[in-house]
Amino acid sequence: MRPSRAHPLWLAYVLHRVSGLGLALFLPLHFWVLSWALTQPQKLNQFLSFAEQPVVKISEFGLVFLLAVHVFGGLRLMAMEWLPWSAPQKTLAAGAVGVAFLVSGTFFLQVV
């Protein structure tokens, strides 16, 4: 028996949990590498030059994606469970937040 799970709410649930696991695996490594700045600066420099490679740059995009998915997934979950609003109200609120991020993100990119 294979229950059908391919609906948006279930996929959002999986994406949120998987991105959380991904971040939980990444963060200890991240802090460990950062600690080299104090303990082994030379090794950190080597690592930083390694991190200039295109493959690493692309995987950085993946990390930012995980972070974004997890943050917005968490906000979605909190809104869904803690705000006794109607579904259309929540859709409007989510739309407003999305548009605000698009506008401010575009502005931010132009500034930087």
Partner: protein, 242 residues
Amino acid sequence: MDGQKDTLEVSVWRGTSSGGDFERYEVPAEENQTILDVVSWIQHYADATLTYRFACRVGMCGSCAMMVNGRPRWTCRTHVRKVLQGRRVEIAPLRNLPVIKDLAADMDVFFDKWVAAGGAHAPTAGRNDPIPPVDPQDSTRVTASAGIECINCAICYAACDTVTGNADYLGPAALQRAWTLFNDSKHDRRAGILDAVSGSGGCHNCHSMGSCTVFCPNDLDPMSAIAGLKRETSRRFWRKGG
């Protein structure tokens, strides 16, 4: 349907919780035919020992739910045409429940949890008391009314992966019932409900996967009802000061 497919290839689960397998039947295809019609045909004309459960045939009693091609559905209101994969359809007993035999799931656990969640109604007044007025527009009443059309078919229970992973979890139907009674001014044990649903198998186990709401044949929204219980139990926790 192109009219050429004169028979359906139906796989039906035969067996109990301790073992069994799918058996295949050739069933005549009709222009208008529900999954329950198919199951009944098999029992009438192919194998009289097939066990299944139904009563009203019109989507009111909640007894004929089964897994159809892996999805929980009310079989009396599910047209074969809608779910057919080629000529094939697979019918199995409801997920997350023990199987008595073939397509008949054992609903005891489901109803025990319904009672454990505080789902039995306790009236605030006796038959000799005056009838207290209920304003249908009142927001609390509107919240209570949202869940009263539940027919206890256990489709949400079968759809829920949290139930699969945690045998103690009360499940969407029982928790929605609890939320309905919690908002019902004619229910006398409203405070007890929050105790009943905040334990280890209670509403905070819900991961909001939403399969209950997606699969409910009556378009109810148990996920939001459970969210309501989460809010109320948390509010009470913080008010008490831990």
